[in-house]
């Protein structure tokens, strides 16, 4: 087991540096088109990679996870708020697992 306080220290330091460096240093827009594009795509790709297949592995029944994915994707597509999408996914799994488990 590694030291959890060191995990916290490392992640907090990196998180803060990511946010503070541009605000403190960069007063002009990034000009390099490839770098801009790369940074633009990163959040969506990394969140997608982390969402699937993890969402179907997090639930007791993979089918419930699939239903949550479908519901969440649909509501988010419709522009529903972060709060509503998150709660809807939880509800779908809860109800689905009443029948599946």
């Amino acid at each position: 087991m590694k030291n959890i306080w060191l995990y916290i220290f490392v992640s907090a330091g990196v998180s803060y540096l990511i946010r503070s460096t541009p605000l403190v240093l960069i007063r002009r827009e990034i000009q390099n088109k490839t770098l801009r594009s790369f940074l633009y795509y990163v959040p969506y790709v990394t969140l997608s990679v982390m969402t699937f297949p993890a969402i179907i592995q997090a639930t007791q029944s993979p089918i419930a996870g699939f239903l949550a994915l479908a519901t969440g994707a649909y509501l988010a597509w419709k522009g529903r708020s972060l709060f509503l999408v998150a709660v809807a996914c939880c509800l779908v799994v809860f109800v689905a697992e009443l029948f599946l488990i």
Partner: protein, 260 residues
């Protein structure tokens, strides 16, 4: 995207520079707009707390992780890496990758500030650049008065930290059925972040599907089973994003419209 209610109305007297007596009203406005954000954070952080508990974090440790990181995906990555006993460098790289979008947001936010904004203000604002706080700060008319953002931070940061704390404490007292349901809340939130731009931009849409597919292959392909999930996420993110950046460079004008 949750913008936290209506954007404040522009006040002609305070546009450009902000007399001290106006900071209080901007701060209050920030608290109001931060309320729905705090509620959403509380629910999502609760599920993060469950992940933290599974990774061996105490309630206090998980709360401090939340107080100092303020990042759902980043913290989730840390908890899952910690659960796997990953190295500190792996945690640092994964935090960097999972939070890379905040780098872009901070760049954008720096353009929203009055040019003379002092270093302490910049350092304080940097503490809580999240999808939602960034969203309402950018929606603020004219130049951003940092005090407006501080108001939103003052209510949403405690919501986030308290949610994580209670997630660790109550998480394991909950029935398995409820934990199973709550554990997808975080993925629901990720979907809420990736779907709106995927709807508007067909390249992002394709990237989401490609990411799902490759992530699925990487997790089920026996040859790759020895590689840690963190390394897989980093490798896939860099591979897919770089490929897209080279093949489909983003038009800066369009890019602004898709900012989360």
């Amino acid at each position: 995207m949750d913008k936290g209610g209506a954007a404040p109305r522009p006040n002609p007297q305070t546009k450009g520079d902000f007399p001290i007596n106006h900071h209080a009203s901007h701060f209050k406005r920030g608290i109001l707009d931060g309320c729905p954000i705090a509620l959403g954070y509380f629910a999502v952080a609760f599920t993060l707390g469950i992940a933290a508990k599974n990774a061996g974090f105490s309630a206090l440790q998980a709360m401090i992780e939340s107080l100092t990181n303020n990042a759902s995906a980043g913290e989730y990555a840390v908890f899952s890496l910690a659960a796997a006993g990953a190295g500190y460098i792996e945690v640092a790289i994964m935090t960097l990758v999972a939070n890379a979008r905040y780098l872009l947001m901070s760049c954008s936010l720096s353009q929203k500030l009055a040019p003379g904004t002092s270093l302490p203000h910049r350092l304080l604002l940097a503490f809580d650049v999240t999808d939602e706080i960034f969203g309402i700060s950018i929606a603020y008319p004219g130049r951003l008065d940092p005090w407006y953002t501080y108001g939103a931070m003052a209510i949403s940061i405690p919501g986030w930290a308290l949610g994580t704390f209670l997630g660790v404490i109550v998480g394991n007292a909950l029935p398995l059925r409820l934990v199973s349901a709550l554990s997808v809340g975080l993925y629901g939130m990720f979907l809420a972040i990736i779907m709106p731009p995927a709807k508007e931009n067909k390249i992002v849409r394709a990237l989401v599907l490609i990411s799902f597919a490759l992530s699925f292959c990487a997790s089920s392909w026996p040859l790759l089973s020895g590689i840690s999930p963190g390394v897989k996420t980093i490798a896939l993110t860099v591979l897919i994003s770089l490929g897209a950046a080279i093949l489909f460079p983003v038009d800066p004008e369009k890019e602004e419209a898709h900012q989360p």
